[in-house]
Symmetry: C2
Subunit: 214 residues, 2 copies
DNA sequence: GCAATTCAATCAATCGTTTGATTAAATCAC
DNA sequence: GTGATTTAATCAAACGATTGATTGAATTGC
């Protein structure tokens, strides 16, 4: 039986929280260990004690991202859809969940900037997060797409189409500073997230209808 | 008459080139002035002499991005499309151009990581680049969309739809490390870019058909 | 009492910037 | 035209500040 990794607690957890926030906001190199310690309400030496050093804390932050996202993902882990329509409905639900999670300010505010930086860095953290998170998530999406359209689940076309669907969602988070300016959003809330979600679901339906093998 | 801003030359240009490359690759804070100077084949003091300091070089890099992208954009600046079909064709062309420019390795290799970091940073550089580049580009896209569908050009729906189209393209660049892993691309070349372009054009057509007011 | 943590203090290394000297080209006075 | 002077540009060297890491003592929880 697969045990869910335990959540850190105490000073270690405080340091990870501070690290996720500051690394995501200012970048790894631009964040000093003293700043992290101050934000966590502890001493600099705690970083070396708990994680072996600044790089160790970075790794721990990556693991914490995997853990948290895994918890959210595991909650909506549904059994394989029986019919094409059920699969399509499940795709829509996943899309809405993603949009709400990504666009609405909340828990993800620390996770996403951190991960975004790790992706552009393309370092060792990304390797771990990719195989633990991105790939399984993408595979599940592809399987649903296959069930909904009748297309091959691991054809290049299917994989790219799924990326194009995910890309639509992610851009509204990654490019949030730009989108907010253009839309005159001071800060995207629930209403704005729903507006985006409705549009992206409509896009999903249009693309899905085209790809569907009748 | 609007004069195109002149391209820097000499040591200043070398420093900007090195700055774009290193800032984009490792981040602003993680790049030392000595490293930049060495990469540009000059002395550290040149940075302060030409740009007033490290921050000045960062600004100059932002201006250079605007200049280069502006040059590419100005070249394909077409007159307003006459018919809906012509507008749709022009949208497809712009999409293909964007995909090829973004996905294929080349000149944009330094520009995009740099801009991506500036966007996540949401600093003063982004303000300048947004009004000089992102907004005009987005407006033109919206106008074309309006001409192709009959929708209102500056409705929230239109603006969001255009973002969703741009998002599809950008994700294939931003998430390139992830996409490449999943697609087993060692490095995306012309063939891969065309494959992506064809898919995204097909998506464009599907969405456009739905939004078209008959 | 003892092991686990946290602390203030300190370390060498590196950071961005400044300095004064040096060079070659441009400008000036005549 | 020509020698004197100024300017633009680059350089090695050094500046104070800050970095991540380490140390040994103090503190905590049991």
């Amino acid at each position: 039986m697969e045990q869910p990794p335990k959540a850190p607690e105490g000073t270690a957890a405080d340091l990870i929280r501070a690290g996720l926030h500051l690394f995501g906001q200012k970048g790894f190199a631009a964040t000093s260990t003293r700043e992290i310690a101050a934000s966590a309400g502890t001493n600099v030496a705690s970083i070396a004690y708990h994680f072996g050093g600044k790089d160790g804390l970075r790794q721990a932050c990556g693991a914490e991202v995997v853990r948290q996202i895994g918890a959210v993902l595991g909650a909506i882990d549904a059994p394989a859809a029986k019919s094409a329509d059920a699969a399509a409905a499940q795709l829509e639900l996943m899309l809405r969940t993603m949009v709400r999670f990504l666009v609405t300010p909340g828990d993800a505010d620390s996770l996403i900037p951190f991960m975004l930086r790790e992706v552009t860095e393309d370092g060792p953290i990304l390797d771990a997060v990719y195989s633990a998170m991105f790939e399984p998530m993408h595979r599940r999406f592809c399987a649903l797409w296959s069930a909904a359209t009748g297309q091959e689940a691991d054809s290049a076309r299917t994989r790219l189409t799924v990326f194009s669907l995910i890309g639509q969602v992610l851009y509204f988070r990654i490019g949030r500073p730009i989108v907010s300016r253009r839309m005159n959003w001071s800060s995207p809330g629930r209403a704005e997230a729903d507006e985006v979600a409705e549009l992206l679901v409509a896009n999903l339906r249009s693309i899905l209808e085209r790809e569907r093998l009748t």
